[in-house]
Amino acid sequence: MKFFFFHLMPYAALDPDYDKKYNSAWVTLPNSYYDPKIGHQLYNRYLDELEYADTMGFDGICVNEHHSNAYGMMPIPGVMAGALARRTKNCKIAVLGRALPLLNNPLTVAEEFAMLDTITGGRLVAGFVRGIGAEYHAWGANPAESHDRFHEAHDLIIQGWTKPGPFAFEGKYYHFNYVNVWPRPYQQPHPPVWIPSQGSRETIEWAAHPDRKYTYLQTFSPVQALARYMAMYRETADRYGWQAGPENVGWAIPTYCAETDEIARREAKPHIEFFFNKLLRMPQEMLLPPGYLSLASMQGVMAAKRTLSGGVQTIDDLMEKAIFLCGSPTTLREKLEKYQAEIGFGYLLPTMQFGTLPHELTIKSTELFAKDVIPYFRGKADRQPAKQASA
């Protein structure tokens, strides 16, 4: 299993009482809640934490993209990746943006990623996402075009990286006479592509297509849902006639590690609850604008009547559903070994800082995890679950 330290860079100084006046930490929360001086401290602190993960032997570090919110301060994740490109020496850098349908010109991402890949000598992992629904409100991008624009922008970027330029690209949304990306990416034919998603059948079918075989990342889901979506990926690959391996699936999950289970639970509690109940708070209209999901998927959501923002969640709820990993190194080793064997993921993306978790605890948890959890899995082959196990 490979370990990627994932940072969301929350605005941790958010007034927790904001929700007495506003129904979300996204889109409509006034930016007067943000203090630039605190922002300065937080950005630099968070970059330190990402750099620390590199020195502690994580295989990679991840930055993220969201707009107009207190949940994550990386609207332009390439700025963070650029800052990290020179200060880190060994780890991969995964940009888990970019939200392609928001772009007027996707070639900006082809260029940006190629630059990052070249500066780092091929340490870039290229993430492509649709963004979450709130992005479509914040940026005015039409959610009804989200899927089609994503696919077309992706095709344009991959062709820009792999086809000799200049060439003409004649799409529905993007039309260019001269696609001629300078620089070309360092990794040939192009950097690995990862597709983070909260679990959409359309996205899984697309990522698992033999033309792509992209690594699919499940984000913020209970472990049961993770098992289901990863099984769906492998079944899709089977149907296409190829066998998906652990390298094709990954799990992004907030994680906290401390000396004992009891200490871990106590130290993490206020910060993980702030993360889920304050920073992730949004009404369904913001999360799922029309067209963001297909009508069939939307029907499923209506039937389930569940949303990310449904009700206040406690640390015990979150740990029980394994939407948050928390415990001593022994506990985390056992859980991860069990889940890996059952589900078959080859990448774990622990979010080691979440919500209001302060720097000292982030570093303590990261250090323990790096010293007492990661080494346990070094040299151990990832397991593939039996086919019927997670059906």
Partner: protein, 258 residues
Amino acid sequence: MPYQEHFETIAGCKVRIMRGGSGEKLLFLHGARGASAWLPFMEALSQRFDLIVPEHPGFGGSETPDWLDNIGDLAYFYLDLIDALKLQRVNLAGVSLGGWIASEIAVRNDSALKTLTLICAAGIHVKGQPKGDIFMWSREEFIRNIFHEPRFAEAMLAMAPTDDELFAEMKNRLATANLGWQPRLYNPDLHKWLHRITVPTLIVWGDDDKVIPPAYGTAFQQLIPGSRLKIMKNAGHTLQIEKADELAALMTSFIETH
């Protein structure tokens, strides 16, 4: 008077049409919430007119054609429909989104039209006059915000929607987003060409329209030569429900005097 429901295939798209009454032809274009039911307002109009109420491509019981990308596609579709149904000297009316479509039809070609009625119409933007964000409102907020009188919203909220109705609502929201998410429910070029409308035009607005404020009625009136504006008192965005009789009477007298 009974109405009939049938399907027509126009420009390769099968659309559901309700039609009832006799007299002058009146083509009514619905708003973002679709036209699933024959409303008392339609019944009232059908006493004097041959009332034709299609569901737009992409909405309710109509198909979603591959060619449907923008409001201009619907304008040309309805010009095809006017030809296909042989609607000469037809009175065209539209509410909200339907008013936008009606305007787009009329600036392209109003030779088959006798009159035009725009009711709380979308389609233009007036700087400094914010519209309601229908996509950010919850279902309940939406229903409350389309009326002036709370009792209409209460009555609508009291009826639990069936799964089919909820599905139609989702389909209609998707179609509306497709046409008008950005820029939000207007065409930046439309205002430049509204002077091309030469048929008698009536503009009707509610004084308490929380979706598209009445300043938009004034703007439409100034942009369409010879048009007249009627602002209804104590009325919201959904006049065809909240002011059904008054609106039907107003339209009848307007159409009959032209």
